[in-house]
């Protein structure tokens, strides 16, 4: 019974927003009912279109939003904002443009979580920043640059460096590679895999792109209309998932090519 508690444990979680449209109040269920468990060191892929509820679910997982129904336990306990100051959580978002504060130098942005955590020594923080940049494959000289001077791929690596600098136990990647070119996307996906193998954090990888998701995840949950239609090991998404919606997504990355193209195209 010494098994560590799952990092993320959601049971029967639902999130409803109240919208006021003129005089009427309507309830919109962003998440209808979700059971989700992510163990330490595991990456769960979350696939679905925009509006499926995956971003809302991510916010619940990060403690930014309290669920309207159900229970959410972080590492076996009710969510306590204090874990943030321990540097246990972090997030990498989609748009490299706004991932970093445009008015701060990159080094400052990356060091900030350490500052919040209470790491006083400036030199100590600098060392950690330099070490982190090396890990994500960025030149140490970039600490003094502003985000606007970097390319999208570089900014996203900076965002990843900031996300991992406190050795978090749970990281959310919210469409983190969606805005990147194919050649850059592959670099960042490989980076995520390597860093996870090295640091062992649990992760939620959210994307509308099944191909990228199955590459970095151990398990995948397909979300639609606020609930999971299928949860299966990533391997299944190389062979063929079960649910019709999952299969429709799968078809976009595993169809026929080449000699049949003319037939399909006409």
């Amino acid at each position: 019974m010494n098994e560590p508690a799952p990092t993320i444990d959601m049971r029967g979680v639902g999130v409803t927003y109240r919208k006021r449209l003129l005089a009427r109040q309507t309830e919109v269920a962003a998440v209808t009912r979700v059971d989700l468990v992510i163990g330490p060191g595991e990456t769960l892929g979350l696939v679905g279109e925009s509006g499926s509820g995956k971003t809302t679910l991510a916010r619940v997982a990060l403690g930014l939003l309290a669920p309207s129904r159900g229970t959410f336990l972080f590492e076996g306990r009710a969510f306590d904002p204090q874990v943030r100051r321990q540097g246990a959580l972090s997030v990498v978002f989609q748009h490299p443009e706004w991932a970093l504060n445009p008015r701060l130098r990159c080094g400052t942005s990356i060091a900030e979580p350490l500052l919040v955590q209470g790491l006083r020594g400036r030199e100590q923080r600098r060392q950690r920043v330099r070490a982190m940049l090396a890990e994500v494959g960025l030149d140490a000289a970039l600490v003094d640059r502003f985000p606007g001077e970097l390319s999208g791929g570089q900014r996203q690596r900076m965002a990843i460096a900031r996300a991992l600098i406190t050795q978090p136990r749970f990281v959310v990647f919210d469409e983190a590679v969606s805005a990147l070119d194919v050649s850059v996307q592959s670099q960042v996906l490989n980076l995520i895999r390597r860093l996870q193998a090295q640091h062992g954090f649990a992760a939620m990888f959210i994307s509308h792109d099944l191909a990228a998701t199955r590459y970095v995840s151990q398990r995948i949950a397909v979300m639609r209309g606020g609930e999971f239609v299928e949860v299966a090991p990533a391997r299944k998404f190389y062979d063929g998932p079960d649910h019709p919606y999952s299969r429709a997504l799968y078809a976009t990355i595993a169809g026929e090519t080449g000699e049949n193209a003319k037939e399909l195209a006409s």
Binding site: W98, N101, R103, L104, E112, F146, G148
Partner: protein, 284 residues
């Protein structure tokens, strides 16, 4: 606003010619206003220095007013007083408005509702009417002028700051800071304020030009700067009586006021263009 590297440097390179003209004009006026008392222009208060309503001459480049005073140093004093009062009022607006606007934009909920309602009420009050009220309570003079200008420029400023704050509140880097445990204070001071500053500065320049107009209006009504001190507005008032006889008493202060307002507005426009470049980026 789009993010770019080394914000100050990149922006300075985009400063256009009109903005430069506005800046130069503003600097000249400010210099005159500040250095006026120390320049050998004559005594603004010396009654009977020259003939009453004397026309412009070599000794008195802008002539003399109805008490024979040299108008030139009075106009220079007017520039200084108008700018000083307006700047002080706008400074107060800047501090209060930024605090309230950011609180409303970031905290939302009750704070936002309350602040927005207060701003709306202030907005509804016509400035000059408020000026009458203020003078009735505080007595006419500099203090009531500052109060009026401040309350008149506050609502719009709060709205702008609130709006910009709102647009940044949902930005990824702000959320990332919250997730990593940053306190509300830290988010406001380190992340939101530097990004709000640009739009705030633009709005403050416009507030300054509005402030100068209000100040002139109040002084014109006799509610602002009191004699023997001169502001551009009070000079307009004193000179307006003699418009047909000695038009320079009105034209010169009026022209200077217009130039002052124009220079501030040009500067504001240039700063705004710096922050929001109009050229689009190509698709490939």
């Amino acid at each position: 606003m789009s993010p770019r590297g080394s914000p100050v440097l990149a922006g300075a390179l985009r400063f256009d010619r009109l903005g430069l003209f506005g800046l130069v004009l503003l600097v000249v006026l400010l210099f005159l206003g500040a250095a006026g008392p120390f320049l050998p222009l004559g005594d603004p208060n010396e009654i009977g220095a020259g003939p009453r309503l004397g026309p412009p001459s070599l000794a008195f480049p802008i002539g003399n007013d109805e008490l024979g005073r040299n108008v030139l140093p009075r106009v220079v004093e007017g520039i200084g007083v108008t700018f000083l009062l307006s700047s002080m009022a706008v400074a107060i607006t800047a501090v209060i408005g930024t605090l309230l606007g950011m609180a409303a934009g970031y905290l939302r909920g009750f704070a936002d509702g309350f602040i927005a309602r207060v701003a709306d009420v202030l907005f509804a009050f016509p400035a000059l009417l408020f000026g009458l009220l203020a003078s009735a309570v505080l007595g006419p003079g500099n203090i009531s002028a500052i109060v009026v200008i401040s309350t008149a420029t506050l609502p719009l400023f709060i709205r702008v700051v609130r709006s910009v704050t709102l647009s940044f509140t949902e930005r990824e880097f702000v959320l990332a800071a919250v997730v990593s445990g940053a306190s509300t204070w830290r988010v406001l001071w380190v992340h939101l304020l530097p990004n709000v500053l640009g739009a705030a500065i633009v709005q403050l320049t416009y507030a300054l030009s509005i402030g100068m107009l209000i100040e002139s209006g109040l002084s014109f009504l006799g509610l602002g700067v009191q004699p023997p001190h001169a502001s551009l507005g009070s000079l307009l008032r004193l000179g307006s009586v003699y418009l047909t006889v000695s038009p320079w008493l009105v034209l010169v202060p009026g022209l200077v006021l217009a130039l002052a307002i124009m220079s501030v507005n040009l500067l504001g426009d240039a700063i705004r263009n710096m922050l929001e470049p109009l050229r689009g980026r190509p698709l490939t």
